[in-house]
Symmetry: C2
Subunit: 489 residues, 2 copies
Amino acid sequence: MDFEIIDKDVMGRIGKFETNHGKVETPTILPVVNPNIELIPPKDLKKFGAEIVMTNAYIIYKTRRDEALEKGVHRLLGVDIPVMTDSGSYQLMIYGDLEITNEEILSFQSKIGSDIIVPLDIPTPPDADYDTALNDLKVTIEREKSALTFKGKSLLALPIQGSTHLDLRKLSAKEALKIGGDVYAIGGIVPLMDTYRFQDLVRIILEVKSVLPSNSVIHLFGAGHPMIFSVAVALGCDLFDSAAYAIYAKDDRYLTPYGTKKLEDLHYLPCSCPICSKYSPNELKEMEKSEREILLAEHNLYVSFEEIRRIKQAIRENNLFELVESRIRVHPNLLKAWRIIREYKDILDIYDPFIKQSFFYTGIESCYRPVVRKHQDRILNVEIDKEEVVISTDEGELADFYIKPPFGVIPAEMIESYPVGHSEVPQAELMEEEALKMAVEGLKRFLDYHSDKRFKIRVNSFWMKYLKNLPKNVVIECLDRRKDLDLQE
Amino acid sequence: MDFEIIDKDVMGRIGKFETNHGKVETPTILPVVNPNIELIPPKDLKKFGAEIVMTNAYIIYKTRRDEALEKGVHRLLGVDIPVMTDSGSYQLMIYGDLEITNEEILSFQSKIGSDIIVPLDIPTPPDADYDTALNDLKVTIEREKSALTFKGKSLLALPIQGSTHLDLRKLSAKEALKIGGDVYAIGGIVPLMDTYRFQDLVRIILEVKSVLPSNSVIHLFGAGHPMIFSVAVALGCDLFDSAAYAIYAKDDRYLTPYGTKKLEDLHYLPCSCPICSKYSPNELKEMEKSEREILLAEHNLYVSFEEIRRIKQAIRENNLFELVESRIRVHPNLLKAWRIIREYKDILDIYDPFIKQSFFYTGIESCYRPVVRKHQDRILNVEIDKEEVVISTDEGELADFYIKPPFGVIPAEMIESYPVGHSEVPQAELMEEEALKMAVEGLKRFLDYHSDKRFKIRVNSFWMKYLKNLPKNVVIECLDRRKDLDLQE
C-alpha cells in the first residue's frame, strides 16, 4: 500500500492512503460502530469528520452473518466510506476463548468486503509475565502469517503486541514488518490509557517506531481519548479508533482534550460544538437518558475531530511541538511521559524537520526539541578567522557570537536566522535552569572545539554562576560589575 | 452596587451583579455593537452566550441622537439585555479632540437608558512620559468626579488610566475608589495587547487590584482576544469587551484561545463551533466576503464565549491555575507575564483559596501557587515529640516526614491530605530544578525551625547534590549507596 506523506512535523505527519472505498487522510479517528446498537446512524458520522469507520467482525459473524455475507459490511452499516473490521480479539481478552478460528474470522472479513482486515491476535495485558507475553506473541505472529492468504483486495492490519516488554514489542514489529502489513496496529494498550500510564504508552510507541520504516501507517488500537491524540500523533501514530465517544456518553461522561468530565460536575459546557452551543448542562441533565446519550456522543465526536483538525493544522504550521507541550500540561502523567523523549533523541532527530517558521519556548520540554541539539552541532563547524573572539550575552553589544538559551552560542551573522532569529524565548532570568544549562553546555562544547582560539565572554552578572569551570583560553568579563562583586562576597 | 461572588479561584471569581435590564454573570464578554453597521443582529448575540453588550454613545450621539433619545438605547439596538455605553474616549485617543464635553456625553448616556455609563476619560497610551500621563490622569479624575451627577439609575464605570506608570495606575484606582464607581475599567491597554506586551498588562492589573477591594467589578477595556481571558480572569478581571470578533472577521482573521490565525493560512478549522463544523476553510475562502465576514464573526464569538465557559468551569473545579499554566504556553510573552506573579505573592495569598480538590503540577509556575508556600509555613507549626526525627524521600519507607517537591517536608500523617495527598506530580528526576530547590528551601526552613531536634534524612542518591549546607543537627543517609559512591568520584 502506498502511504503518501503530505506534510510532517515532529514525528507526526499528514498522510493519505487508498482503500477500496476511497482515500483516507491521516491522522484520523475511526468511530467504532456497533452493528446492533445504533446510537448515531453510521451514515451520519461523516458530518463529524469521519472518513472511515470501524466495526466488529466477530459481533457481525455471531449475530448477522448471512445478512452481512449477502449485503457486505458497507450496506449492512449503511455507509459508503471505508470500513475497517476488528477481529474480536478485544472480546478474546475480556471473555477468554472465542468460538471462532483465526482463519474463519479473516475469511469472513474478506468476504463481507472489509477495507482493512485484522487477524485474531492475542492482546496480552500490561505487566504480563515475560513468558506469557512471549507465548501470546508467538501465536499472534503465526496468525498474522496466515492472514496474508485472506487479504484479497482488502488492506491488512497487523497487530503489535508484547505487553509492557519493550523488546517483545520490537520483536512483534519486526516480525509484522517481515510479513508485510498495510497498517501496523499497536494493541493491548487500553489498560495503560485507562490508568493514565502514559509513560509506558510513549515508550511502546517509540520502540515500535524505531523498528518500522517511516512510511508505515500506525494505528493505536482502542485509543479514543482526545487527551492523547496530540502526543500520539507527534510520536508518529496515524490512526485511532474511538468506541470511547459512545461508551463515555452512555456513562454521562463528556470528553475534552484536557480530560474527561462527568456531566454532573459540569456547571458550564466548555466547548462550542453545535451541541454545547445549543444546550446548557442543566438541559442535558434533565432530559431523557436516551436523548442525552446521543447528544453526549455527538459532542464527544465533535470534540475528538476538532482535536484532530487542530493537530493537522499544527503539522501544517510546523508547530506541533508547541501544541504538544501545551497539551501535556493537562495531566502530570502526560508531562512525565513526554519528558522521556529525551531518551529517544536519535529517532526524533531523524523525523523532525530542521527548518520551521518559528520556535516558541514553552518550558524545559522545548530544550529537548531536536533543533536545539542540531543547532549546537552545526555551529561547531562555523569557521572562525580571528585569534580573539568576543562572545556576549547582550545582543545590543557588538560581538562575534552571542549566548542565547536554550540554543547556546549563536554566530552574529546567524542571529536573524532560524532557529534563533525566529524564536520567542523569555529573558534568561525568567527561564528554567535546564534551559540555561543547555546553553552553557553548548558553549562549553564550542569552546572545547576551538581550543586554539582565545575567547572573551562578556556577560551580565546573572550568568556568572553558570559559567564555572570554563577552559583556560577564556576570559570572562562582567558587564554589570557591581552586582558581580556582590555575588562573589 | 452589590457584586455577589458565587465561587472563586486564584484571584478570579464567578460573580453576579444587577442592572436595570437584569442580572449579569461574570466573567463575561460584552460584544461591541456598532449602531450603524449591522454584522450580527444585536438581538442574536444571546445565542452565542452574550448577557450584556456594549455600544458607543459618541457614535450614537453623532449619528442617531434624536432617535436614541426617543427610543432609548435598548430599542435602538433591538436588545432586551443590559447595554453598557462607551463615551468615545477611544475615538478621542485615535482622532484627538471630540466635539463633545464630558457632561454632554454622560447626560446623553443616562438619557438613553444605558445600564452602565462611562465618563469621557483620557486614555493615555503606553510609555507616555510621566508628566503627560499625570496630567491626563488629573483630567480623567475630574471628569470621573463630575460623572456622579449623571448616574441616575445607571451603573457607573470609572476608567483607570496612567499609561505604563504603575504608581499612576494605583493613584487612578485610589481616586476612582474614593469617587465610588460600580465598575472599574482598566483602560489604555489595547496597544499593550496588540504588541503582546503581556508583562506590562499583568503588572498594571495586579497594581490596580492591590488598591481595590476584592468585591470591585473590574473591566478590562478593549480586551477581546480569548488568548488572554484565562490570565486576566485569574488576576481578578470580570468583564471584557470584544470589538475584536468583528474587527478580526473583517480582516479574515480567525480567533482561537491560542492566538490569531489568518484564514488564508488555515488548512483545517481547529474548532467545532457550528460554523467550523459546517464549513471547510476552502468553502469560507471561496464565498463572498460579506457572507464570510459574518461567519468568521460568528466563529470568533463562539470561541470567545467557549473560553469564558471553560474558565468558569475551571473556577468551579478550582483548577484555574492548571488552566492558566496550560494557556500561557501559547505564547512565550504570556509565559513571561505569568512568571512575574512571583513578585506579587502577598496579593495572591490573600485571594487564592487554600483548600482545593487537587494539585496538578504543570511546570515551574506550579511552584508559585500560594498553596506551596502556605504549606511550607503551616508545617513549621507541626509539633514534634521525638528527639530523633526520620525524614525520607521514599514514601515506601517508614519515616516521620517525607520530602516531596515542590512542597518540601510533609508530616507522615498529612501524606494523604491536601495538598500533597491530592497532588499529581512527576517523580523528582523528571521535575524542573526550581521545584526541587523549592522543596529543599522548605526543608531547610523546617530544619532551622527545629534546631533543637536531631534529624536523619534518608534520600536516594539523586537528591544528594541538592542537600548541601544543611545544619549540624542533620545526618544524611543514602538509600542507594552504590550510586552515591559513583557520584562522589
